[in-house]
């Protein structure tokens, strides 16, 4: 038990003292924090939506992607006439 406490105590102080005594590290952490803010709270929220999530019905994502991929083929995909008969 004592060994465990001693380990966690040492681990805590490794980080606590390390962060407290940083010099150049403070600037770097500030840059990292700004970067993470821009990436996750600006870019991800406002500019990078989940395209399939927005355009496909939940549970029908594969239909959406299949449709997108097949529609862009060189020849138009076969048309399904009313009644569900497929053109061979």
């Amino acid at each position: 038990m004592t060994t465990h406490e001693s380990f966690w105590h040492k681990a805590f102080h490794l980080y606590y003292d390390g962060f407290r005594n940083m010099t150049l590290g403070r600037t770097l952490w500030l840059i990292i924090a700004i970067k993470l803010f821009v990436i996750f709270l600006v870019l991800k929220l406002f500019f990078f939506p989940d395209f399939i999530g927005q355009h496909a019905e939940k549970g029908h994502e594969s239909d959406f992607v299949a449709g997108e991929i097949c529609k862009r083929g060189v020849e138009k995909p076969p048309v399904v006439p009313q009644g569900g008969q497929l053109i061979p």
Binding site: L24, G73, P77, L86
Partner: protein, 509 residues
């Protein structure tokens, strides 16, 4: 909407945005890989000798490593955002082939790296010398392990093996642990990893000798600069050998899996049994391309026209299909996928089974169903041709510089050659150009494919409008430029200040 009505400029903006992000991210990765190993070697020297000089030397390079790491961290995540928004068809289509390696990279490698990096920076005087050394090596290994999984994902796009396409989910799946191993250890992944990582070592070595040369030219930090120069140049010479060997294996692999890319590297339109290697213009080495691509004195290397026309004999003794044949098979595959899904939803199981069989028979050509003109199968040859020459030319220059540095240090005449020291210094920007040229060769050379033969970029891209992508492109351009300026300012400040080993020693005395 077919691809003719798709906003085509959106494809180019999405490509440009991805290229910008990847290029920016790639500024930091090679130095992390190379400098990590060099600082680990220096700390090992401290561990073995107990000489405080080596500790201070390792700490200085670790400081630069930290700046580079801090600037590069999380920039790769933006690529994943782009997959989900700009390349959503691709993201869905690759299935867990991409997801699994990236998850392993995120969970194992990144956490390993971030755990031990804390001990490396905060642990001096707090943990034993041996544990600290182990943490430094594990930080470097973690970064290298990260690179492995990222390159596994990239290699699959260039050489899609080990996957099974499921027409129900429209995803490529790893059916078993065996297929995971096939993806993780595909020959393309192995050569790509070895070549990329060794080029990172080269970048690290060039940066170390370049900064050391700057100190030597100013007669500052002489012991530090000479010692770093010695470690850096020997390491750089070894890295040069590794880059050449792995580059050779990479060339053979590209010749097998992506012959169009190899032909574009060389601007080779008509193939032959003894294809020449073009240095520049009409300056060619007869038969050399055959030797490099096949490791034989005689062996057919197809040119761009041969690949489009087909009819030549492949290494497995079958005849190469023409582009038109592949395109018509691609149309059949796409049609079979549509018919399969319609039949399945209508409950016509027999028809679905027939269509599935038809799809599987034509699946290797699936992506050709999106190619309108066979000329679209040719990547932008001038860009790839010159990028290849820049990469090889600068790589050769670095080999020469490292050789001269090692030789002159052995002769104890290094400082008598200030011109060489200046060239060494200027190699720092050049190594970045070289590294980016390598990336251009690998990625522009495989166009029009997002996934080789399976999915071209015009099918992989989301149905976006170009203004949306254009806005984020310019946001990235501004953010990345600001971050790069910040990084360079901090780096230059730390280098100008120097390790101050001699000053500290004088004060202590």
């Amino acid at each position: 909407m077919n691809f003719q009505t798709l906003d085509l400029s959106a494809i180019d903006w999405a490509r440009a945005q991805f290229a910008l992000t990847a290029i920016y991210h790639w500024l930091f990765v090679p130095l992390t890989l190379g400098l990590g190993l060099i600082m680990s070697i220096m700390e090992t020297k401290y561990y073995r000798t107990g000489d405080a000089f080596w500790r201070k030397t390792a700490q200085f390079w670790q400081r630069l490593f930290g700046i580079n790491f801090a600037m590069g961290v999380a920039t790769g995540i933006i690529l994943e955002f782009e997959f989900g928004t700009n390349w959503s068809n691709y993201s869905w289509f690759v299935g867990d082939i991409f997801g699994a390696p990236l998850a392993i990279e995120g969970i194992v490698a990144f956490f390993m790296e971030s755990t031990f990096i804390a001990v490396m920076y905060f642990g001096w005087n707090k943990v034993s010398r041996g544990f600290h050394l182990a943490s430094t090596w594990l930080t470097t290994l973690g970064a290298t392990f990260s690179a492995w999984w990222i390159l596994v994902a990239n290699a699959w796009m260039q050489y899609p093996v080990g996957a099974t396409f499921d027409p129900d989910t429209v995803r490529n799946e790893m059916a078993s642990f065996g297929s995971f191993l096939e993806v993780a250890f595909s020959p393309m992944a192995v050569v790509k990893f070895c070549h990329t990582v060794s080029s990172g070592w080269l970048t690290g070595a060039v940066v170390v000798v370049g900064i050391s040369a700057w100190y030597l030219l100013r007669r500052r930090e002489e012991r530090f600069a000479r010692s770093s120069m010695l470690v850096g140049s020997i390491f750089g010479l070894v890295a040069c050998g590794a880059v050449m060997l792995t580059g050779d294996s990479s060339g053979v692999m590209v010749g097998k899996a992506q012959p169009m890319k190899l032909a574009a590297f060389e601007g080779l339109y008509e193939g032959s049994d003894q294809a020449p290697f073009t240095i520049v213009g009409d300056l060619k080495i007869p038969g050399m391309l055959t030797v490099l691509a096949t490791h034989k004195l005689r062996g057919f290397v197809p040119g761009i026209n041969d690949i489009l026309e087909g009819g030549y004999t492949l290494p497995d003794s079958t005849k190469a299909l023409s582009a038109e044949e592949k395109m018509s098979r691609g149309v059949v595959a796409l049609d079979a996928l549509t018919q399969y899904r319609l039949a399945r939803s209508a409950g016509r199981t027999e028809k679905a089974a027939v269509m599935r069989e038809k799809l599987e028979a034509n699946l290797p050509y699936f992506g050709y169903g999106h190619i309108l003109d066979k000329k679209d199968l040719v990547p932008p040859v001038p860009i790839v041709f010159w990028a290849f020459r820049v990469m090889v030319g600068l790589g050769s220059l670095f080999c020469l510089v490292f050789f001269l540095l090692v030789f002159l240090q052995y002769k104890k005449q290094l400082t008598r050659w200030p011109l060489l020291l200046k060239v060494t210094m200027w190699c720092i920007p050049l190594v970045y150009i070289c590294s980016q040229a390598g990336w251009v060769c690998a990625e522009v050379g495989r166009q029009p494919w997002a996934i080789q033969d399976l999915l071209p970029v015009n099918a992989a891209v989301s149905a976006l409008q170009s203004p949306a992508v254009r806005v984020t492109f310019f946001i990235f351009l501004c953010v990345f430029t600001l971050l790069l300026i910040a990084e360079l300012r901090i780096l230059f400040k730390v280098v100008r200040k120097g390790p101050q080993i001699e000053e500290e020693d004088k004060q202590n005395n």
